[in-house]
């Protein structure tokens, strides 16, 4: 601000000599490299480097051979690009005695994530719809419990769920884990759908009632088709959330069903053998790839999912 003031005075005198008595005209003169801009973009640039650096180092490391890593600098680009670490991470990295690589974890994660998303969104959207449009007695009580439950540390509910799943004969199976994800995804998704359906004009709902549509008729014929964006937002929340989960995976599944994150951790932090940092980083990237792709592809919708999570009530 003060710098523009100083330029003003210079500008006035320069202009005054050219066009007498007319004085300043048009836009305030601005320099692209004002002190303010240098500070602003400088700060942003430095912080951006801090944020990008880990991703960069991950990629660079995963493309180097071990000798180069031992000798060189982690920030240096690879002299000789090799994809061997990626191949090894995918197909033959070891966790303990098992040397199948990450691929098994990847497919496990896929088999966990897809049904979990479908189930949790199906349940939560119907919940949200019932809460928004068919308020029944006690609905708000259960909804409040659900929202409060979102703040309770998972650790408190960890063991009771083990017992429930064991009684159902699902403990250790993929189905059990899918159920757990549906349960713990319910608060945020129900909130998301309830808020969205509440914002749909009530007249629309009433008109459908007058036309004779019932609970499911209105849900499938009216609400569902007009709320596709919010389903996409819910999917983004769930893909990243479930793919990135570690705790539930490690608690509720047997080792052969471990999701990718658990397997990744076991590969990298395994104490046996020589540490192969390039393979570790390749494995780390591969694991992070799915949520990253979702993030970069979804853009504004990802942000909307965050905002939805933040607006309570």
């Amino acid at each position: 601000m003060s710098s523009t003031g100083a330029i003003n005075i210079a500008g006035v005198s320069a202009d005054a000599s050219a066009e007498d008595l007319v004085g300043p005209r048009g836009a305030r003169p601005r320099r692209a490299l004002s002190r303010r801009n240098i500070m602003l973009y400088g700060t942003l640039f430095v912080i951006a480097v801090y944020y990008i650096l880990p991703l960069y180092v991950m990629i660079v490391t995963s493309l180097k051979g071990m000798p180069e890593i031992r000798l060189g600098n982690i920030f240096a680009p690879p002299v000789e690009i090799t994809f061997e670490p990626w191949v090894k991470a995918w197909s033959s990295a070891c966790t303990g005695l098992n040397c199948e690589g990450l691929s098994r974890g990847f497919w496990n994660s896929v088999r966990i994530t897809i049904p979990s998303i479908v189930l949790s969104i199906a349940i939560a959207s119907v919940n949200g719809y019932a809460l928004a449009n068919w308020r029944f007695k006690g609905a708000n009580l259960f909804f409040t419990i659900l929202i409060v439950g979102a703040f309770i540390p998972y650790q408190v509910m960890l063991y009771p769920l083990v017992i429930i799943l064991r009684e159902m004969g699902l403990y250790g199976s993929l189905t059990g884990l899918v159920l757990v994800h549906a349960v713990f995804g319910m608060p945020i998704l129900t909130l998301l759908f309830r808020n969205y359906f509440t914002s749909v004009p009530e007249e629309l709902f009433k008109a459908a009632r007058v036309d004779g549509a019932g609970f499911w008729g209105i849900y499938f014929k009216i609400m569902l088709p007009m709320s596709l964006p919010i389903f996409v937002v819910a999917m983004i929340i769930q893909v990243t959330g479930i793919w990135n989960d570690f705790l539930f995976g490690v608690v509720y599944t047997r080792p052969e069903y471990y999701p990718m994150t658990v397997q990744l951790n076991n590969i990298v932090n395994s104490v046996q053998g020589v540490k192969e940092y390039n393979v570790n980083m390749a494995a780390t990237i591969i694991t992070g790839l799915v949520p990253l792709i979702v993030y970069f592809a979804s853009g504004k919708l990802f942000v909307r999912g965050i905002a939805a999570g933040a607006v309570k009530g």
Partner: protein, 362 residues
């Protein structure tokens, strides 16, 4: 010394020309209203005058001082916003004092100015409250107070009454008028889309459309002699009747639309006088009268009543003439009904005639 001049002002956002070649001179103590529908650039122009927007070309003078490059705070202006824009976490007193404190004014002077403004606006009992505890009208009074304590010569109002309900709006409108009368040398520029506000408050009105000024004149002139069809249609409620037809000459100029012939010999044509050709003939509903046998208006015709809208004080009658709709006002107590045939009359000299193509006044 508080006249405001805008010279050759242009404002572009990238490729889009928002304001084009605007020239306005507002005299000291004048009340100018910028009137137009939303998106016409009236608020944008006000923001340019305030220095909140950087203009692309042209100059702005306030009190004969070139302020084109000055910061808003250095322009000697106070501004009142539609959303009040009070600082919500501060008391009323804090709101009034914040700018002054920041300018390092002495405590005594701040106190004196706040006391004076509070008395002026009758907000003394509110000084200790927060904005959230005030009604809309009170908030807007505080917002005016914030401009008042700055002790400036130019007040800018950006749709200050648009967030209020109709009754409060009428009350505060009078108060703003009173304020202007009491602050004799203070220039006021006032943006609104409400033509009643414009007509009641303004010394002069500038009607804006698409980033340029259509007409800048006293309210009466704008009402009686609109320069083009847009201004004629914009001002007045219920709005003016337009009848499409053409001007013909026998010996005198005559407006012809279908079977209807209106003698316009007494109409004051602009410029070189009447020319034959297609025109739009405009006559305001309140200038049309029901004939009661006396037949004293220069033009009369028999029309059929289509719709009757009683509004209490008067009644609006919808009819048709020469293939166009025709609305006119009659006494609130008349008992007309659909299908009635009545004789109406008006003075063509009070009408406005526009070129059908350029839409300019003839």
């Amino acid at each position: 010394m508080a006249n405001v001049s805008v010279k050759d002002l242009d404002l572009n956002f990238g490729e889009i020309k928002v304001l084009q070649n605007l020239n306005i001179d507002v005299g000291e103590g004048e009340f100018l209203v910028l009137l137009g529908s939303s998106g016409c650039g009236k608020s944008t122009l006000l923001n340019c005058i305030a220095g909140l927007l950087d203009i692309s070309d042209g100059q702005i003078f306030i009190g004969d001082r070139n302020v084109t490059w000055e910061q808003p705070k250095d322009r000697g202006i106070g501004m009142v916003f539609q959303s009040y824009a009070l600082y919500p976490q501060m008391t009323v007193e804090g709101n009034l004092a914040f700018g002054l404190k920041n300018a390092r004014m002495s405590k005594d002077e701040i106190k004196k100015r706040i006391a004076r403004a509070a008395e002026f606006l009758q907000i003394e009992p509110l000084l200790g409250r927060k904005p959230a505890q005030l009604s809309g009208g009170q908030r807007q009074r505080v917002a005016i107070g914030r401009a008042l304590v700055r002790d400036v010569d130019v007040f800018l109002f950006d749709e200050p009454l648009s967030n209020l309900d109709a009754k409060l709006r009428a009350e505060l409108r009078v108060e703003i008028k009173r304020l202007h009368q009491q602050l004799e040398n203070t220039t006021m520029i006032y943006v609104t889309h409400d033509q009643i506000e414009a007509m009641t408050l303004a010394d002069r009105i500038a009607i804006m459309r698409g980033g340029s000024i259509q007409q800048l004149a006293a309210p009466n002139t704008i009402y009686n002699k609109p320069v083009n069809k847009y201004v004629a249609g914009f001002i007045g409620s219920p709005s003016i009747n337009f009848i499409d037809g053409e001007v013909r000459f026998n010996s005198d100029p005559v407006f012809v639309a279908g079977d209807t012939k209106i003698d316009v010999a007494r109409y004051e044509f602009t410029g070189n006088g009447p020319k034959p050709g297609p025109v739009t003939f405009g006559i305001r509903p309140e200038h049309i009268f029901l004939e009661r046998g006396g037949e004293d208006e220069p033009f009369t015709a028999e029309v059929e009543v289509d719709v009757v809208e009683p509004m209490g004080a008067d009644t609006l009658v919808w009819s048709h003439m020469g293939g166009n709709e025709l609305r006119f006002r009659v006494d609130g107590q008349t008992s007309l009904s659909k299908g009635d045939r009545v004789t109406i009359g008006f003075d063509p000299a009070r009408a406005s005639i526009f070129d059908a193509e350029t839409e300019l006044r003839l």
